[in-house]
Symmetry: C2
């Protein structure tokens, strides 16, 4: 029932404990939902309330501590034993009087961890400033140290099974890009295209069903292509519009992102000019990637390629990707950018997204890849070019579902 | 272009400043994306990096401070003047060396706010423990106070335009529930139903396009109906399964949630027994709601109704709902539960979700409503009962899009 065998979860836990030991951490409090999933298989949309794992250096299993109505999921959908699941009552939820960290802090004291060195994920979305303060108030004799990204760094190199899941996510990404963009044409609303993309992202393939992506499909259009994180509107596409489509296939929470740029009718001169520059740079980077290089060196390949064409841009070129939850599919560890000293190793996985955003337009053509023994391979196989659409032909396969 | 007129944004800002004044706050740092949207119209999936508004008590406009590539959205898609938008370079993003709050803290010092009383949203997802510490380090002479939910409480009573948007969201919710559940039958995969629901949530109606909901559709099935926050799997439905469908229509980020329970074939005896109890309780609550009551008094109606049938459950019955972003559509202010002293006023809006979760099954039949001058009215009009499906009839309108 769990997506990985027990051996894999235990190996992840062992690697985590090794890093805890190196940092002198007795108890690691894991609030990142991806890290909770990674260590135990716990997977539910319950991260909007405070919850965590406590990884105790000399205990065989982490503890899960969360909301009462979610505890059954932790008991039955993870490899944790029932007695390692603790739950706070509902009156702690979004209350002005009670804070879940009061319960959790007291529980840790009761279990004998009140004087330990406790690692916390300081910059995680699901570990608020208030959560930290309430925890400190309840554990006055503990020593807290920043263990942000400790588990994320364990996640950096993927196992064979993780790569398999990403390959399935890639099939879903390709399918969603192909089918979702099929009906882009003048007169179609942005929201209808978003709907189609979602449909194919979730229904996936006959063999593999899709999961929700950590970021919604982004489809900035027209001048908005200069603003990469806008979501769709009710506006109808017009002839001459460019549309950037950035989406991810997601399988068992593993993501493979893919971005392409669509032109409805003839592309602008600007787009015609920059597209081959982006494709050339992208391909030079993919040709260059091999184990032993640093992320910074990879970025240099891109920067030099652009410079040949007189373009200089300071932006991150890519980032480590894999298991995740909203609001981000990036893992917040290695970034492909200047001065990142991460050394590439086989089965590291990245989203390489050499976006160029100018004043009135932008372009994105991206690839997700894994580092192999002697180079890299992309997860998806999708034409690397502008997608040029006839603005008025109604695609017979692209209609609404009735 | 903005979803509300300038007068409405300014009235929101005035109300916010009044609360700031009451608390002695000179500068309010707003990191909740819903609050950022509420005050300025800013709407992008950029909240996965640190960003904020700074509302300064004696300045006519808030400042937007965020990532360089998102700043154009703040300059062109809000009512803020260009000079009130500040952006940090990309090397601050997910970096081990640079933290965006270093930039933001220094910017506030440069602008003369280094010695002010600064309000921060202490328990917000997008204000991490690290963000708070870095901000304090950069603003050593400022006094920080907890201003969590300050803007959320301004959002509690909706304007006419907000109610209009929620009515559109309600049309989308009804449509998505009707069309999305149409094809639930034995043999269909959970992910395919999630895909259909998403399709209708986003394509919306011909007049009103849908936006992404802050929570994905939840559809726990079979024994998993006892675990409310599980998301879909690749499993195929079977005859006899119950399925809880909880979704929201979303229009311009305003949510109207709706939950129903579906039985594939004859419902279990348990479901047959509890359904009328839930419906009766729900209707007694809706009949009782009127301005002047407290949320605690509303919950009492439900508790008494259940008690007639020998059921006692301690869980939150509902919560304030409206404008939001992932990971939650609830506003974290008023909750319909014991001891909540919020006094109901016209145009407060709630999701009333009297879920009952037992050991092996659960049921949810919910309504979203607004408080009126003399009672309440529900946003959606959807039969309040179990939805019983023939397990084997293939609905001719419910197939995949080809």
């Amino acid at each position: 029932m769990l997506p990985f065998d027990l051996f894999e979860y235990q190996s992840r836990l062992t690697k985590t404990k090794k890093r805890m030991e190196e940092k002198g951490i007795d108890v690691l409090l894991v609030t990142d939902p991806a890290n909770m999933n990674y260590l135990t298989g716990y997977d539910a949309w319950s991260f909007y309330v405070h919850q965590m794992l406590a990884v105790i250096i000399d205990e065989p299993q982490p503890l899960w501590i969360g909301r009462y109505q979610d505890a059954k999921g932790a008991r039955t959908k993870t490899w944790l034993h029932e007695e390692n699941v603790y739950a706070y009552p509902d009156y702690y939820v979004h209350s002005a009087i009670h804070h879940p960290m009061d319960y959790i802090g007291q529980k840790l004291v009761d279990l004998g961890h009140g004087k330990k060195t406790i690692g916390v994920e300081m910059d995680n979305y699901y570990f608020s400033a208030k959560a930290f303060i309430q925890l400190q108030n309840n554990l006055p004799n503990a020593r807290f140290i920043d263990a942000d990204l400790l588990v994320n760094y364990v996640r950096l190199i993927k196992s064979e099974q993780e790569i398999n899941y990403m390959k399935r996510a890639a099939m879903i990404a390709e399918h969603a890009m192909y089918k979702g963009t099929e009906s882009i044409r003048a007169g179609m609303r942005e929201c209808d295209i978003a709907a189609q993309i979602y449909y194919y992202m979730l229904s996936g393939t006959e063999e593999y069903g899709g999961d929700y992506p950590a970021i919604v499909p982004l489809l900035p259009t027209g001048e908005n292509t200069a603003i990469p994180h806008l979501t769709w509107t009710e506006r109808s596409f017009q002839e001459g519009d460019a549309v950037i489509v950035e989406l991810a296939g997601c399988y068992k929470r593993y993501h493979v992102p893919l971005a392409r740029t669509v032109s409805i009718g003839n592309p602008s001169e600007d787009l015609q000019r920059v597209t081959p520059i982006v494709v050339e740079g992208l391909e030079e980077v993919l040709d260059a990637v091999k184990p032993g290089m640093t992320c910074g060196e990879v970025e240099e390949v891109w920067r030099k390629s652009l410079k040949k064409h007189g373009i200089e841009k300071e932006a991150r070129l890519g980032y480590s990707v894999g298991l995740n939850y909203p609001p981000d599919w990036g893992e917040h560890t290695a970034s492909i950018r200047a001065r990142d000293t991460t050394v590439l190793q086989p089965n590291m996985t990245f989203h390489l997204i050499p976006g160029l955003w100018f004043d009135k337009y932008g372009i994105e053509i991206s690839e997700s890849f894994r580092v192999t023994e002697d180079g890299c391979e992309t997860f998806t196989n999708y034409p690397r070019d502008l997608m040029i659409k006839d603005p008025f032909i109604i695609n017979p396969h692209g209609g609404k579902i009735s």
